[in-house]
Symmetry: C2
Subunit: 457 residues, 2 copies
C-alpha cells in the first residue's frame, strides 16, 4: 500500500522525540529493578515531565473527594465526607446532563463551569471582563492551542504561515506547529538574563522570516516552560505593542501562573496587561490565553482539563472556532470539574479548608526550597561536558541524560527537546517534587556529574 509514499509531508517533517529513547530506557531499567537486578539505586526518580504526581507530589484531598463523589453519587450521602465536599459534588452533578459525569457536555464545556472560569479570570485580572462565550474548556491547554493553530496556520497558502516561537520551548507546541505545516520562526530567550524575553529578539526573528514565510502569530510562554522566567509587566507591554504594530496574533501560554516562587516576581496575565493598556490596543490586539488544571498545586495532569480565553476575535472567526472544538465533542467531564475546583478552592471557614491548607502549604514550601537548593547545587557543579558523542548516535545532552538515567536512576530531559542555542547544552527537570526526593535527586546528580566529567572531559 502507499500510505508512506502519499503521507502528508507535514507529518513526515515532524521530529521523532528524543524523549522516546529515554522513556524506553527507563521502562527497561524499571523492569530490571523489578527482577532484582542490582543497581546503585532502588528506584528511578522521574522528574522529566512537568508532572507533579509522577514526581511524588500528593493530590489534594478536597479535589479528589469532590470528584469521587461526582463519580459515585452514593458518597454524596456519606457522612465520612465534609459537608462542603458533598454540597459541591451535588451542585456539579446537577450541572451535568442526565446528572452524570458520563454524559457529553456542550462543546465549550459545562455552561455553569464556563461561567465560573469567567468569574475566576475577572477576579484574577482586577475586574477586566471575561465574557463566558469567549472561553473554551478543553482536554488540556495544549489541545486548545493546537485547535487555535488549526485556525491560524494556512496549509494551502503559497507562502507558509510562520509562528514566532521561543527557544527553549517545550516540544509539544513545536510538534503541533510542524504537524500543521507551519514555519517555526525561533526567537531566543536570553539565558544570561534569566531567560528573559527581549523585544529586539522578536524583531530579529521577524526579520529572519522575510521571504521565508508569512508570520501570523507570536507564541509566548509566561511563566516560562522550561525556563521558569516570569515576565515583568513592562516587558509584556512591549510585547503587546510589538504584536499590535506587526499585526500578529498573540498566543499566551500561561499554564504555570500558580507556580511563581521568586521573591520579587509576580504573575500578571496578558489579558490584564492588555485591558489596562486601554484603547485602541485593548480593543484590537487578538489574544488567546491558555491555562490548565495540570500544573500548580493541584497538578492533575491525568484528568486532562484546560481552557483557552479568546480576546478581540472577529465573530466570524469565533464561529469557525466553535466548529473546530465541536470535532472532538467535549473535554473529559472530570477534567472540567478539576479546573472548576482549582479556580474555586475551599475558603477559610469551610469545613474542608483546614485540611486543604495543611496539604497545600508543604507543596509551596517544597517548591520554594527546591528552587533554591537546586540552583545552589547546580551552580556549584563544573560546566557540562560538550564532547561530540556522535559515535553513539545521540546528541550530547541526550547522551548525558541517558547516562544519568542508567547510572543514577534519574530521568530528566535533554535540552535538544526544547531547542537551544547552537553549541550550548541543557538538561531540564521538574521541581514540583517533595523536598526529600529533590535532595536525593541532587545527591545522585552531583556524584554522577563528577564522575561524568572525569570520564568525558
Amino acid at each position: 500500500m502507499s500510505v508512506l509514499q502519499e503521507m502528508s509531508p507535514n507529518v513526515k517533517q515532524m521530529r521523532q522525540l528524543e524523549y522516546a529513547v529515554l522513556a524506553r530506557q527507563a521502562i527497561r531499567i524499571r523492569e530490571e529493578l523489578k527482577q532484582g537486578v542490582r543497581k546503585p539505586y532502588k528506584e528511578v526518580i522521574d522528574v522529566c515531565w512537568g508532572d507533579p504526581h509522577r514526581a511524588g507530589i500528593k493530590p489534594l484531598s478536597f479535589v479528589r473527594q469532590v470528584l469521587a463523589a461526582c463519580l459515585y453519587p452514593q458518597l454524596v450521602n456519606s457522612d465520612k465526607l465534609p459537608v462542603d465536599v458533598r454540597q459541591r459534588a451535588q451542585r456539579l452533578l446537577q450541572e451535568c446532563c442526565g446528572g452524570s459525569v458520563g454524559a457529553y457536555t456542550n462543546t465549550r464545556g459545562i455552561p455553569e463551569i464556563v461561567h465560573r472560569v469567567s468569574e475566576f479570570i475577572t477576579r484574577r485580572d482586577g475586574g477586566a471582563p471575561s465574557p463566558p462565550e469567549n472561553i473554551y474548556i478543553s482536554p488540556g491547554s495544549q489541545w486548545a492551542l493546537t485547535n487555535m493553530l488549526k485556525i491560524l496556520v494556512n496549509s494551502k497558502a503559497s507562502t507558509r504561515t510562520g509562528v514566532l516561537t521561543p527557544v527553549p520551548c517545550h516540544s509539544t507546541t513545536t510538534l503541533s506547529l510542524e504537524g500543521l505545516g507551519a514555519v517555526i520562526v525561533p526567537y531566543y530567550l536570553s539565558e544570561r538574563q534569566g531567560w528573559e524575553l527581549q523585544v529586539e529578539e522578536l524583531q530579529q526573528a521577524l526579520d529572519s522570516a522575510k521571504g521565508v514565510c508569512n508570520p501570523m502569530a507570536l507564541y509566548v510562554i509566561n511563566p516560562g516552560n522550561p525556563s521558569g522566567h516570569v515576565q515583568s509587566r513592562k516587558s509584556m507591554q512591549e510585547v503587546i505593542r510589538f504584536v499590535s504594530e506587526k499585526r500578529l496574533f498573540l498566543l499566551a501560554d500561561e499554564v504555570y501562573q500558580e507556580c511563581v516562587y521568586g521573591e520579587n516576581s509576580e504573575f500578571v496575565s496578558y489579558k490584564r496587561v492588555l485591558a489596562e493598556m486601554g484603547p485602541p490596543l485593548s480593543d484590537t490586539v487578538e489574544l488567546a490565553s491558555f491555562h490548565s488544571a495540570s500544573k500548580g498545586y493541584m497538578g492533575e495532569c491525568g484528568l486532562r482539563g484546560g481552557y483557552v480565553e479568546l480576546v478581540n476575535l472577529d465573530p466570524a472567526v469565533m464561529k469557525y472556532i466553535y466548529t473546530i472544538f465541536s470535532m472532538d465533542t467535549c473535554a473529559p467531564v472530570l477534567g472540567q470539574m478539576a479546573l472548576d475546583l482549582m479556580m474555586n478552592p475551599p475558603q477559610p471557614g469551610d469545613p474542608s479548608y483546614p485540611l486543604y491548607d495543611v496539604e497545600k502549604q508543604p507543596i509551596r514550601t517544597a517548591l520554594v526550597h527546591n528552587v533554591k537548593t537546586a540552583r545552589a547545587v547546580l551552580n556549584s557543579l563544573p560546566g557540562f561536558c560538550c564532547q561530540p558523542v556522535e559515535e553513539v548516535g545521540m546528541k550530547p545532552d541526550t547522551f548525558y541524560c541517558s547516562r544519568l538515567l542508567e547510572e543514577a536512576g534519574v530521568l530528566v530531559s535533554p535540552g535538544c527537546e526544547y531547542g537551544q542555542k547552537e553549541g550550548t547544552f541543557h538538561i531540564r527537570f521538574c521541581i514540583m517534587t517533595p523536598q526529600d526526593i529533590m535532595e536525593e535527586l541532587l545527591k545522585r546528580l552531583t556524584s554522577f556529574h563528577t564522575q561524568f566529567m572525569e570520564d568525558f572531559s
Copy 2:
C-alpha cells in the same frame, strides 16, 4: 487584524453544524421551563446524541465504584465497597505513575491497560493476535480517527486526498475530513435494504472520484451510526477484497459493537474477518479499527476513553503515528480505566457480579424493547412532510426537529447532519434510553407528527 482573511481554507470550508441551532433552542426552552413558562411538557427529552446517560440510562455501579476508589484511594480501605472493586482499584493505581490518576501516562496509554485491551481483542476475535504496540488509547475513538486522518490526508498534494465516506454518516467524521482538507467521496447506504453497505456503491463512488481526488481510504461504520445496520461477514469480506484491490486504507469505526439487538445479527470485527481470510489479504490490508467506552452498556461518554488498533501498517508509518499521538500527551486516565473495566467486567462468582448483572439486564431489555416499539410506532405514522420551508431559512428536516423540540419537548437530530439522498429527509435519535422515557417520547412524537402533517402537508 487579518486572521479571517488569511485563515486556512480547510477551516473556512467546514460546515456550521445544524445541531447548534437546535442546541441553542433547547437551552432557551429549558430556561423558560425553569422560569415557570407553561408548556405542554415538563422537561425536554434529549435523545439527539449517542449519549446514554443524557438519555436517562444509569451508570453501572461497579465501574463508578472502581473509578471513585482510584480517585480517592482512602476508599480502597472502605469496607462499604465490595472486595473485588477494592482489589481492582488497587491494581489500577499501582499501574499509574506515582500511584495517581493525576499523572500523565505513556502516549499509547497505561502499558498494563494497553495489554489488557490487546487480550480483549484477541478473545473477541477468536484468537487472532493483537500486539499491544499496535494499540493507542485516546480520548474517545473520534479523536483517534482524526489522528489517523492526519496521517492519511495529504494537504499539500496537488490532487487532494479522497476518503470514501458513507451516507448517512455522523457529522464529527465529516467535519474532521473537511477540516483536514480531504475530499469526502460519498457512498450511499441502501435505505431499502435496512441501510446495507453495497460494494457496487463503493465502486460507483470510486468512479465518481476520478479526476477529482486521490482516494486513499474507505471509512466504514459497523454497526452503523446513525443507521444501526449490522454488516454480515460476507459483506465484510467483499469490502476487504475491494480495499485490497483498490489499494485503500480501511478505517473501521466499530464503537457500537456491544449494541447489536437484532435477532439474526451478530457483530464480527473487521480485524477478525481479515485474519480469517488468511494470506495474502491478512498480511497486507491496512486496517485501523476504533472502539470506545462511550457506547454499549457502560455509556461513559463524558470520561473520554477509546482506542484504535492498527493492522499491517509499515513500521515507518507507525513511528509517525507515535509522534502524532504524542502531541496531546495522553488520554484522560479515568477514561483509560473505564475502557479497561468495559473489557473486563465482573465475572460470575465475583462479589460485584450480582449487582452488575441486575443493572445491566434492564439496559439490554430496554434497548431490545425500544428498537421494536420505536420501529412499530414510526412505521405507523404517515410519511414526512417535504414542503420546502426556505422562508424560515432551515432545511425541511431541521425545521421538523425544531418544531418537535418547541412543541413536544423532544430533541432529536435532523438527517441533513448526517447526509441523505437528495429529496429524502430523516430524523435520528438514540434508542439507549429507559423504556418509560422511550414510551413518553413516542407518544409525544406521534401526536406532534399528526398535527404537523395537518399543518404542513
